[in-house]
């Protein structure tokens, strides 16, 4: 496993271009998190890659127009990445609320 941090300008499609560089290679993405930073945005990816793919991905990401920088680092435990996540019901609550409202109206 390898962790990557890709710093990017949050323009249309840039995050998706970063992700499709991974998905087109059939690489599993156990963890992905995108977030704003002080100046740019950052996406953190935990990927199961071989050394050659590390180089290919880094160069492909650098070639994306609005990517600022790419860093690779040692992976942490997936649980550490995920701890900020709270499990939410699905579908999201506004939908449930709307359904309940609709049921109420029909009744």
């Amino acid at each position: 496993m390898q962790v990557f941090h890709v710093l990017y300008r949050n323009t249309q499609g840039t995050l998706m271009r970063i992700l499709t560089a991974v998905s087109r290679r059939g690489i599993e993405m156990p963890f992905v998190q995108a977030e704003p930073t002080d100046q740019w945005h950052k996406v953190t990816l935990l990927l199961d890659v071989n050394p050659r793919q590390i180089g290919q991905l880094s160069r492909d990401w650098h070639a994306v127009v609005d990517v600022i920088d790419v860093r690779a680092g040692a992976p942490k435990d997936v649980a550490e990445y995920s701890e900020a996540w709270a499990v939410k019901p699905h579908p999201p609550s506004p939908v449930i609320a709307a359904r309940e409202a609709a049921s109420g109206a029909l009744a």
Binding site: R9, Q12, G13, M16, R17, T20, A21, R24, R52, G55, Q56, R59, D60, H62, A63, V65, V67, I68, D69, V70
Partner: protein, 564 residues
């Protein structure tokens, strides 16, 4: 006040666009409504794929940005193959698509498709325009990215309500890119290392790709190669970058490259790569590519490095800067004498292109075509056997004199691309060579040729098979010719006439029978010199094969030279 459509067209003019290719439809109608008097000439093709390939032909033959326009939904999806083609072959292309009204986006409205999403991995950059005021900045940025660095396709998706809306327009704008902190400035530090590598090399070679032409570095490259005098070969997109008359030039390299080029590449100890991606059609089995070589890679796009093998010395930057930088230093350096290596690599024993040589009727026919072709002609090929025969035989001295769908290998490319090339180069002879399969993939563009009375010279090499697939079936699938038979092809001459294009047929004896040689030569001469569009159908032997051939998974040195 200006309508969004008028702003688009004024911004296109500001980018130097005077010719676009397209096909109208509901969501793009306001743009078509504003065309008259805009200064932008629109070429109506008969299919959106024809439009995007024609825009590519325009761009490939000039180096300018090609523009293709289509409506939303199916119009947009029909552009996708051309966008992929432009991405693979580094063609500067701006595609403009109509989109459903802004409030309807995401509702699966009539003729709505997520073309922005579906082309994300094919485009360098794209925008779904959200307000009319964004239009000038979006168009400026689109053209910037299409042209800059490694050129490529970009896409602008324009909702129809924005094209109809009006706003105050202060004129086109210029785009200023944000510098990337990670970008490295090109400096001359590599020169000493490269000179040292050359001084220790015993068998250096040079491999030339499209990058040398795209960067406009052809003259600089030729000067450098004349100085180095190392055995040199080109990828299919590099053809024309090197003067083919030079004694050190060995022709095309790769799957159907010359024996001399592939052998030299297999034996070299120092490989200089100038603007080539080194894809699998060039390298053969990647793990056995140039097995003894250190690699020096001149390349503008760092993403192309180390795809096949790690390179010893990457030289990142525009070849128009890095090659002169290196030449200015290497011309003062003391280099070894590589005469012995050159005499082996470029010697007569390896020079024979094809053991059957002139006995193969299709090769003889293509040679006859090229013999009568004026200097600075443009040859456009489709994809398949004829493509490789043409690439092997055409000795272009003109950097943009040979174009083909190389990376994507998109059948149907040639006819519309030839239309674009002819419109961009009205004085040039544009020779379009297709197979019978590929020609039928965009055959409707004969109507475009006729409407414009373009003097394109159209050749169909008709073997009544999907020839290259059939060749693989013969060699690697035990002659199981599954679904490649096209013996029920239509009468292409009659089709040509149905479109109003003068058409004729030539058979094998036309090029093989000495008694018919003069008559055939005259027919080809008349065909090429006509001021009108012409179609020539060459009925060739059905089971001719392209040799040399490196089988998939084999090393370049293991090429097949003839049927075993």
């Amino acid at each position: 006040m200006h309508k969004g459509a008028e702003i688009v067209l004024q911004c296109l003019r500001a980018e130097g666009v005077d010719l676009v290719f397209g096909y109208p439809g509901g969501a793009i109608m306001p743009l078509y409504d504003a065309l008259n008097g805009s200064g932008v000439r629109h070429i109506l093709t008969r299919h959106e794929q024809g439009a995007v390939f024609a825009a590519e032909g325009y761009a490939r033959s000039t180096g300018k940005v090609g523009v293709a326009i289509a409506t939303s939904g199916p119009g947009a999806t029909n552009l996708v193959t051309g966008i992929a083609d432009a991405k693979m072959d580094s063609v500067p292309l701006v595609c403009i698509t109509g989109q459903v009204r802004t409030p309807l986006i995401g509702t699966d409205a009539f003729q709505e498709t997520d073309v922005f999403g579906m082309t994300l991995s094919l485009t360098k950059w794209s925008r779904l325009v959200r307000t009319i005021d964004e239009i000038p900045a979006v168009i400026a940025e689109a053209f910037y990215w299409a042209r800059s660095g490694r050129p490529g396709p970009v896409m602008i998706d324009l909702p129809v309500d924005l094209l109809k809306a009006s706003t105050e327009f202060r004129g086109p704008v210029k785009f200023q890119p944000h510098p990337k902190p990670a970008d490295l400035a090109t400096d001359s530090a590599f020169c000493d290392n490269l000179i040292a590598l050359l001084q220790h090399a015993r068998k250096p070679v040079a491999l030339v790709g499209a990058g040398a032409k795209l960067s406009g570095a052809t003259d600089d490259l030729r000067r450098l190669l004349d100085h180095l005098q190392v055995p040199t070969f080109a990828t299919v997109h590099g053809l024309g970058a090197v003067n083919p008359d030079k004694s050190y030039y060995l022709g095309m390299v790769g799957m159907h490259g010359t024996r001399a080029a592939n052998m030299a590449l297999s034996e070299t100890d120092l490989l200089l790569v100038f603007g080539a991606r080194l894809d699998d059609r060039v390298t053969g089995e990647p793990t056995r590519f140039a097995p003894h070589a250190r690699i020096v890679h001149f390349e503008i796009d760092p993403a192309q490095l180390d795809r096949v093998r790690p390179c010893e010395l990457p030289v990142i930057g525009d070849l128009a800067e890095t090659i002169p930088m290196f030449y200015s230093q290497v011309k003062r350096a003391s280099l070894p004498n590589w005469n012995e290596w050159r005499s082996i690599a470029c010697g007569p024993e390896r020079a024979e292109l094809d053991p059957r040589g002139f006995s193969e009727p299709t090769i003889r026919f293509i040679d006859e075509l090229f013999r009568h072709l004026p200097e600075n002609s443009i040859v456009v090929t489709d994809v398949g056997q004829h493509q490789m025969w043409a690439a092997q035989r055409y000795r272009s001295r003109f950097p943009r004199g040979f174009m083909t769908s190389g990376g994507l290998g998109a059948m149907g490319f040639a006819l519309p691309a030839a239309i674009g090339a002819q419109l961009a180069n009205p004085e040039a002879t544009v020779l379009c060579i297709s197979g019978d399969g590929g020609f039928q993939m965009n055959i409707q563009e004969l109507a475009t040729v006729k409407r414009l009375n373009l003097p394109v010279k159209l050749v169909i090499v008709d073997n009544k098979y999907l020839g290259m697939v059939r060749q693989w079936q013969q060699l690697f699938y035990n002659r199981n010719y599954a679904e490649t038979d096209m013996s029920d092809n239509p009468n292409f001459v009659a089709i040509g006439y149905a479109y109003g294009i003068n058409s004729r047929r030539m058979r094998v004896d036309g090029v093989m029978d000495p008694d018919l040689a003069e008559e055939s030569a005259n027919a080809i001469q008349n065909f090429l010199s006509s001021p009108n569009p012409e179609l020539l159908v060459f009925e060739c032997p059905p089971e001719a094969n392209v040799y040399p051939m490196v089988p998939a998974g084999a090393a370049l040195s293991e090429m097949l030279l003839e049927e075993e």
